[in-house]
């Protein structure tokens, strides 16, 4: 693709944009935290048996009628005849609420076989999983740095990791800002985004490395031009690739199941951020860093020649 504008020279604005979203996300997170689902939060479990297969929408209506909303992944169907409804709610229920749900059950399902059973729940494994995921991502980041530093150079490695963490952060910030529910599927989405982000970044770095080898830029302006050229050379690929993966995510969001809507939403944000950060964050960071050490190098060389 032909260069439309100079990406590297405009990088200041992109840094500011990403910084603003991240800071807004941190502020909202600090004030309100995440909107955690029962996957991660202690809550209540309500179970009751019907004399028919559990109708998804009607059970949701029943809880709606007493002012309780079932999250996207909050309703499970059990029993061999699929006639047991299991509802998890992210709050502790008062005796009054339990009584209200009981009468709602009688109203919505007059022929139900069983009264509701209410239990408090303390999720254990999900919390462990989330914790392990964070450690796994951080450990992966360290190993990626080592590999990229060996195959490319150290600066590429750090720039790539910053882009990766940027994408994870943007998704977390988006969920905090939009008050979207963070459930167990969110962990899978976050891991996917991390995998995509680093893959996408390395493809562009590879082209920069190649062009730097061919053109051997001497000063920072030449370096900026080489990087800008590399970014535009890979632009068609960047757009085509992100288009194909984004199409899949958007279609799954609108036409897929409700219970994975948080998952696909996280994917959409993360994929856009992943493609964006490779071009507008990772590469400019590398230029700025490489340019600085170039200047230092030159200064040292000049001094040497003066003496």
């Amino acid at each position: 693709m032909k260069p439309r504008f100079n990406i590297v020279r405009l990088s200041k604005w992109f840094f500011m944009l990403s910084g603003a979203i991240t800071i807004a996300g941190i502020i909202v997170f600090a004030l309100f935290g995440f909107n955690l689902s029962t996957d991660f939060k202690a809550g209540s479990r309500i179970q009751f048996q019907l004399n028919q297969q559990v109708p998804d929408a009607r059970v949701r209506q029943m809880f709606q009628s007493v002012g309780l909303t079932i999250g996207d992944t909050g309703l499970t169907v059990g029993g061999i005849e699929r006639n047991v409804a299991i509802v998890t709610l992210p709050e502790q229920l008062s005796a009054k609420q339990i009584a209200a749900i009981q009468s709602a059950e009688h109203k919505f399902f007059p022929s139900a076989k069983q009264d509701i059973q209410v239990n408090s729940v303390d999720p254990f494994v999900a919390q462990q999983t989330a914790r392990k995921a964070i450690w796994a991502v951080l450990a992966a980041a360290v190993c990626i740095v080592v590999y990229v530093a060996i195959r490319f150079e150290f600066r590429f490695a750090i720039a790539g990791i910053i882009a990766l963490l940027h994408d994870a952060f943007i998704v977390l910030a988006a969920f905090a800002l939009l008050r979207r529910e963070v459930d167990l599927t969110f962990v899978a989405a976050l891991l996917t985004i991390v995998g995509y982000s680093i893959n996408d970044t390395i493809v562009i770095f590879d082209r920069i490395r190649e062009n730097v080898k061919i053109h051997k830029p001497e000063d920072i302006d030449a370096l900026r031009d080489v990087v800008n050229k590399s970014l535009w050379q890979t632009m068609t690929r960047s757009i085509n690739t992100v288009f194909t993966v984004l199409v899949a995510a958007v279609i799954l969001y609108f036409f897929g199941g409700v219970s994975i809507r948080n998952f696909t939403f996280a994917l959409i944000i993360g994929l856009i951020s992943g493609a964006y950060s490779s071009i507008f964050i990772a590469s400019p960071i590398w230029v700025a860093w490489r340019g600085r050490s170039m200047r230092k190098h030159k200064a040292v060389a000049n001094e040497a020649s003066v003496q």
Binding site: G78, V121, N199, D200, R237, A248
Partner: protein
């Protein structure tokens, strides 16, 4: 036109589509699905705390950890383990949901079974009943052992035995020092298993236990597994056992499948629109990718969960990306004035380095997630990601490349337009081709 090459190309296409269409339903059925995709069994246990005692915070953590280890030893993916409120008797309850109903009995057995191993220095025998009961406090229990117990055959007498190793070798040295020439009494779940006489001080901290019911390799392996799973701090009693549907919901999953199919069709159409015949080759390679990953999953008996599925979708993205990188590179080479066939060759070569580097990085990420992710969802994702990358290298790079080279070598279609090369690209040398 070289008919042989064209025939070879068509044969490859026919083989891929034929094998996939013919066997995909069986392969799909043989892949075990996780709790979130297929549902499983819901087990509710009551915690038998000693009378009058309630579950302390540290006791609760230890219990949940022990249950988690046991569930993981079943090899199921992403179990759900919740601590629930008290039952009518005032006991705390633990709810465990595991995928699959095939091993229901085994699951009930393994989660609730206790292997309480204790070594005593003295024991008495009740003359009337012949029952042997330990005297005093145990010298050591299962909690003092490393979780690497395994079945072995004793080298001297050829008997089946369980090899154990103490966490602190000193403990075993002290015990054997004190009891040289005297018997010790090994109890399993309150039953005397064996009462060997210590022949000499053992300095290695490892030992073997045998005798009693440990006559078969199966019995030894079962005990070793139970010892490794760690003793439950409190006994558990099964209260209820229900089958549960997928936690993501049946209708929800069906809709997702349909949406996934639509997405794949759009991606296929997009590739054909942009890269024409080359795009079609990429699509066929994608079919091979999908088929091979399912085959690997079925072969490895990996439990597929939503996070695994997400990794496979990411794999599709990576596979498509590999083709796009290659085709864009081929276009670049043609811009530099190469002929179609040499551009395909050189473009493939140059693109390969990019693809290998980016995929190696992602593969490393997957491998590290596998190591640090523990059991469950993170590991499931990591396995699927690694499988996805390797298969995408095989199909989207090797297979796709082989097909493209064979096809261009056949000379059946020479116009660059059919390979997604626009007019703008070929201004200078269009006449050459």
């Amino acid at each position: 036109m070289k008919w042989g090459r064209l025939f070879a190309f068509l044969l490859m296409v026919a083989a891929i589509i034929g094998v996939t269409a013919g066997t995909v339903p069986q392969v799909w059925k043989s892949i075990p699905l996780g709790l979130d995709l297929r549902g499983g069994v819901d087990l509710l246990y009551a915690v038998d705390t000693p009378k009058g005692q309630s579950l302390s915070d540290s006791g609760r953590q230890a219990l949940l950890k022990a249950v988690e280890m046991r569930v993981n030893s079943l090899g199921v993916s992403s179990p759900s383990i919740d601590l629930e409120g008290k039952n009518q008797l005032g006991q705390d309850q633990i709810r465990v949901q595991v995928a699959g109903v095939k091993n229901q009995q085994e699951a009930v057995q393994v989660i609730g079974a206790t292997a309480q191993l204790a070594i005593y220095g003295d024991a008495t025998i009740d003359k009337k009943t012949g029952k042997i009961t330990p005297v005093g406090a145990p010298l050591a229990t299962g909690a003092d052992l490393k979780s690497n117990a395994k079945w072995v055959v004793d080298q001297q007498d050829g008997k089946n035995a369980v090899a154990i190793e103490f966490k602190q070798a000193q403990k075993w040295i002290d015990i054997t020092k004190k009891y040289v020439g005297k018997p010790i009494f090994v109890f399993l779940n309150g039953q005397l298993l064996t009462d060997p006489v210590i022949q000499q001080v053992m300095y290695s901290g490892s030992s073997e236990i045998s005798g009693g019911s440990l006559t078969t390799p199966q019995a030894c392996m079962a005990l070793a597994n139970e010892l490794n799973a760690g003793a439950l701090p409190y006994p558990l009693t099964l209260e209820s056992e229900t089958s549960v549907g997928p936690s993501l919901g049946q209708t929800s999953l069906q809709r997702t499948m349909v949406a996934g199919l639509i997405a794949i069709i759009i991606i296929f159409a997009f590739m054909i629109c942009v890269y024409r015949l080359a795009g079609l080759i990429a699509d066929i390679a994608l079919i091979a990718y999908g088929y091979l990953t399912l085959l690997v999953f079925s072969g490895l008996h990996v439990v597929l969960t939503l996070s695994g599925l997400a990794a496979l979708v990411l794999g599709v993205g990576i596979a498509v990306d590999a083709n796009i990188i290659t085709y864009e590179r081929i276009k670049d080479e043609m811009r530099n004035g190469r002929s179609l066939r040499s551009a395909v060759r050189i473009g493939n070569k140059n693109a390969l380095r990019t693809i290998v580097d980016s995929n190696a990085t992602t593969f490393i990420a997957g491998a590290v997630m596998y190591i640090f992710g523990g059991q469950g969802d993170v590991r499931g994702f990591a396995v699927a990601l690694m499988v996805g990358i390797i298969v995408s290298l095989l199909t989207a790079v090797l297979l796709s490349r082989l097909m493209l080279l064979t096809f261009t070598a056949s000379g059946a279609v020479r116009r660059p337009w059919w390979y997604g090369v626009g007019k703008g690209v070929l201004k200078q040398h269009e006449t050459q081709v």
